[in-house]
């Protein structure tokens, strides 16, 4: 029986659940003996010129070994995204200007960690405050410039649609609805905050222990910032405690840690506090969207327009790229004849933006799914029915959309039907009707979403090495390193399937750039369909190699050999030689580089049920039914775990989370007391419905599941809350759907 598709319990978990993982800050590597601790002095002001910095008192503080400012740092300021305006450079320590609260201004190195904060308080920085711009649309006016030398806050015109929207775009539509909606800024807030530790060896190489989602890219990026060859940098990832996209690549602090270690000739450790993380780590989303949808009263959607303003934060990072995905996925699951989109990316005096679970695609889904509900409302049609009428038909796949994506496989209407059936949609609508007629203070809302997303986009290539050792154990090397996803179990299953060796004997290694020089990491739900498929093929290659060698040992034809239970056997004879024995004779190892060439497009549909207390405005998510189709399921336990986490984060964006600043750019959500991280108590149980439609781009049919839950649940819940109060005249409420906002919307509609 195949191990693929079975609920193998995660081999990672016993250590995580008992002793605990070993994160970067937990390392006890002897080469770190005598390490200094880095504390960064961070700007308390959102926009200011620095008139002076006095570090004398800090240098005299107990335990202080050195204090550095921007004037001391010879690392060349970096451009955090290649296509950003070339003048939008970020120094590793601020020199004459700060552009957001939390920007690093000085570096304090102390013998002990606890001495750092005391000394950092003694660094005396004089700031001359400048006007602050936090609001994206205000920033677009270029009245307050973050980079006067750039002459504009527009970070990139790469997403601007050079062809304007035709004047007659909606001319053939009976009904047109338009709305400006906000996809708010959210924080990834991984439980392990950012960390980096560096030492330089006698060979002149720097070793950097990092908390990141991709060791190899971090190596290349940090080496570039440090002005050294990537070969001079050895990046090692200890356990990584969550990333959610915010740990893709490297952060400037990583290069600073390496530079400081060189400068003082001692190992340097850095692990930020939660407070630092809430302003220092890149954040996700942050778009203002104008959605316009048009069509006929019979439920035919004919035209859709999406105009996006995206927030880059103070310094451009990966967030600059993400509107590309938002535009590409604009039409969602729908076969809309006319789709037009454009996007501007703008700098503001806030924390930089980058990827967060879904990274550009949830923003597209939220927009089109709100648009579909607005249109359904305008033509008085059931929103589920409207969706089913407009989704891409199964016979049209592969389907090239007006967004420019080529959807591989999908059965969107079937997914909607499965979700509706699981939810007893008609029953829910009947109960909703009953409560509306009774004037119940607890109203029901039912929200539907239909979604499709891209996984494995961009980085199509991944490699794996599978080696059998003479003791019968197996090592798998992978270029995609996990930060909670369960690669150790999943990759062992894929190797076990080919080798017939138990998963307990298979060790998966990752995240060491000397051991595994190439790799693209874990992001964009790419790992299984790239790294996993590479393991699958490497294991097959190893089986073929073993057969070639066993043919000599067993004096048999290769065609007569099969590999089972860890040995090469001659069919029908009982003659066999174990893979371990073959490994004892000669290294038994196979390397495979897999190029998927294309992304895949997982899809699904969610139905959410919410209860809204119309007197207080409080909405509670009661149930969610989720169909998430990412092709065949390798391990249902891990698959459902990804869905659980994803759904939780999608619900949390809809209901709770929002990074906020006041008009002066002061963060209002700097701790977990203020920022709406959800707990189990805020979430319902999840009803998961299985649907498996393989992709055609790899032999196992796998797509990615990491982000699907987030992308599907957020619009379903958003739509549900508005549905609950739509009979009171409410058309739209921006996320997060706080009690005050819901109450205010009801009050406003009543006027």
């Amino acid at each position: 029986m195949s191990i693929l598709g079975t609920r193998v319990v995660r081999t990672e978990d016993p250590v995580f659940l008992t002793r605990g993982a070993t994160y970067t800050d937990d390392l006890t590597d002897e080469r770190l003996t005598g390490a200094l601790h880095l504390t960064l002095v961070r700007s308390p002001i959102a926009h200011a010129t620095i008139t002076s910095i006095d570090v004398d008192a800090a240098k005299d503080a107990p335990g202080v070994v050195a204090v550095f400012t921007g004037a001391d740092c010879d690392l060349a300021p970096m451009l955090g995204f290649p296509a950003a305006h070339k003048a939008m450079l970020r120094p590793f320590l601020a020199v004459d200007r700060v552009r957001y609260v939390g920007e690093a201004v000085a570096a304090v190195l102390t013998e002990e960690a606890y001495q750092g904060e005391d000394a950092a308080e003694l660094v005396d920085v004089d700031y001359e405050p400048l006007d602050v711009v936090v609001d994206m649309k205000e920033a677009l006016k270029d009245e307050v410039l973050l980079f006067p030398e750039a002459g504009t806050n527009l970070v990139s015109g790469m997403h601007l649609n050079k062809e304007g929207r035709p004047e007659d775009f909606f001319a053939d539509c009976e009904v047109v609805v338009s709305k400006e909606i906000v996809n708010q800024r959210v924080a990834a807030a991984p439980l392990e905050t950012r960390a980096a530790t560096a030492f330089w060896g006698e060979d002149g190489r720097c070793t950097l222990f990092l908390s990141t989602q991709n060791a190899q890219a971090a190596r290349d990026e940090v080496a570039g910032w440090m002005g050294i060859e990537p070969s001079q940098l050895h990046v090692i990832l200890p356990d990584v405690g969550g990333g959610f996209g915010a740990k893709i690549g490297a952060d400037p602090e990583f290069a600073l840690v390496g530079w400081l270690s060189k400068k003082v000739g001692r190992p340097v450790r850095w692990n930020e506090s939660r407070s630092e993380n809430m302003t220092g780590m890149v954040q996700g989303r942050g778009q203002v969207q104008t959605i316009t949808i048009g069509g006929d009263r019979d439920g035919t959607v004919k035209a859709y327009s999406l105009e996006v303003v995206a927030d880059a934060g103070a310094y451009p990072r990966l967030g600059v790229a993400l509107p590309m995905f938002t535009r590409m996925m604009a039409p969602g699951t729908y076969d809309i004849p006319k789709v037009w989109s454009t996007a501007s990316v703008v700098a503001t005096n806030t924390t930089s933006t980058a990827a967060y679970r879904g990274a550009g695609r949830p923003e597209a889904t939220q927009a089109i799914e709100r648009a579909m509900d607005l249109f359904a409302d305008a033509i008085d049609m059931d929103p589920a029915e409207l969706r089913k009428r407009n989704v891409v038909r199964p016979e049209k796949f592969p389907f090239t959309t007006k967004g420019g994506a080529e959807y591989d496989t999908g059965e969107y209407a079937k997914a909607i039907d499965l979700a509706l059936k699981a939810a007893d949609y008609d029953g829910l609508r009947a109960e909703q009707k009953r409560r509306r007629e009774a004037g119940d203070p607890l109203q029901l809302g039912i929200g539907v979403s239909s979604y499709v997303e891209i996984t494995g986009g961009g980085a199509f290539v991944e490699n794996a090495t599978v080696q059998v050792h003479e003791d019968g154990t197996v090592t798998v090397l992978t270029g995609t390193s996990p930060h909670g996803q369960g690669h150790a179990t999943a990759w062992a299953m894929l190797a076990s399937e080919q080798l017939g060796i138990d998963v307990d004997k298979i060790t998966v290694k990752h995240g060491d750039t000397d051991l595994i020089p190439k790799g693209a990491g874990t992001m964009g739900s790419r790992s299984l369909q790239t790294g996993g498929i590479a393991v699958h093929h490497a294991a097959i290659d190893l089986v073929e190699l073993a057969k070639q060698r066993a043919a000599d040992v067993l004096e048999a034809n290769v065609e007569d050999l099969v590999v089972a239970d860890g040995s090469v056997q001659v069919k029908g004879t009982g003659a066999a030689v174990s893979l371990a024995e073959l490994a004892g004779r000669e290294e038994l190892k196979a390397f495979h580089e897999w190029d998927a060439k294309k992304p895949t497009f997982p899809f699904g549909a969610h139905v959410a049920l919410v209860e809204v207390d119309v007197e207080s405005g409080k909405a509670t998510v009661e149930r969610i039914w989720a169909v998430d189709d990412a092709g065949p399921i390798l391990n249902p336990l891990i698959f459902d775990g990804q869905r659980h986490g994803g759904i939780a984060q999608g619900i949390a964006q809809a209901m709770l989370e929002e990074v906020m600043w006041d008009e002066e750019g002061q963060p209002l959500t700097g701790t977990f007391a203020d920022y709406g991280i959800p707990s189990a108590a805020e979430l319902p149980s999840f009803d998961l419905v299985t649907m498996e439609t393989p992709t055609t781009i790899n032999t196992l049919g796998y797509k990615g599941i990491g982000e699907a839950g987030t992308i599907g649940s957020c619009p379903a819940v958003h739509n549900a809350v508005i549905d609950a109060v739509s009979h009171l005249g409410v058309e739209h409420i921006d996320m997060p759907l706080t009690p005050m906002r819901v109450w205010a919307a009801i009050s406003e509609a009543a006027k």
Binding site: S616, G617, L668, T671, A673, A681, T738
Partner: protein
């Protein structure tokens, strides 16, 4: 997230604690459960020179009937309020309110006296004790004094407690097992209340309402209480719950929203209490 350096003392008696307070005055801070104090110290919003830990003083950990009142030691943990048979029978509002504080870890550490002394207008217990017309017992080298909680609070995080005084006991009337309600409104289960309303039925039959987060101190809904005393309906009385309040503005609520919310919660709490 590392506090400024401080000295730490763990006196073995209340008298020793008071002596330390007298010695160090404004530079001293009392630590009981630590769930309010330690976070602000870690954020460097507070930097006491000395922390006096009274959390383990057995003589401050009790719940007992004393005449017409229940006397509760200041270092009694929320958890002990929640599971107290005495309170379940004699003043059931308090355990019900304590049950809504934070999460189990917080409730096993945080203390009633700490909550009262901290004077956080968003705290649950101060408003409950206020609804009950409770008494705060303070001790200093100058002796002991009893301050009605209606006269205890002077503003946000401030009270009439002198720097050398220690909250040693909270006294509440024996209001019994019924006639109470607590409506706490939060976004997340373990958040501070955006607004909350505590209702107590007093031994003389009067209905009292304590309000959380409707001003700089815990407040009573005096207009509502007066309306109820005049025999007005719950709906009529609850509609007056915001009168005389000055609710704060934050990301969870404008004053306008809180003024609305308090009437909704008052109505619900009164209905529950009278059911």
């Amino acid at each position: 997230m590392i506090p400024v350096g401080f000295d730490y003392e763990r006196p073995q008696t209340v008298d020793a604690a008071i002596a330390l307070l007298a010695e160090h005055g404004d530079g001293a801070t009392v630590l009981a459960g630590g769930h309010s104090l330690l976070p602000v110290m870690k954020l460097r919003l507070a930097a006491p020179e000395i922390v006096i830990d009274i959390g383990r003083l057995a003589e401050l950990n009790y719940i007992r009937v004393d005449g017409d009142e229940v006397a509760i030691g200041a270092a009694t943990r929320y958890r002990d309020l929640v599971i107290s048979d005495v309170l379940a029978a004699e003043c059931a509002l308090l355990p019900a309110v304590a049950r809504t504080v934070g999460d189990p870890q917080v409730r096993h550490r945080g203390t009633l006296g700490g909550a009262i002394a901290h004077a956080d207008p968003a705290g649950d217990l101060p408003a409950a004790v206020l609804a009950l017309d409770g008494t705060v017992v303070l001790r200093s080298p100058r002796g002991e004094r009893k301050v009605p909680i209606t006269e205890f609070y002077t503003g946000v995080f401030s009270s009439v407690k002198e720097p050398d005084e220690l909250v040693v006991e909270i006294r509440v009337p024996r209001t019994g097992a019924t006639g109470w309600a607590y409506e706490k409104f939060t976004r997340r289960s373990n958040d501070w209340a955006i607004v909350a309303v505590a209702v107590a039925t007093m031994p003389d039959g009067a209905t009292h309402l304590g309000l959380v987060n409707m001003g700089g101190t815990p407040l009573r809904a005096s207009a509502t209480e007066a309306a109820l005393a005049e025999g007005k309906s719950i709906e009529e009385a609850a509609a007056l719950a915001a009168e005389g309040t000055e609710p704060p503005t934050d990301s969870h609520g404008t004053p306008e929203y809180r003024n609305h919310l308090v009437t909704v919660l008052a109505k619900r709490a009164l209905k529950t209490a009278s059911a």
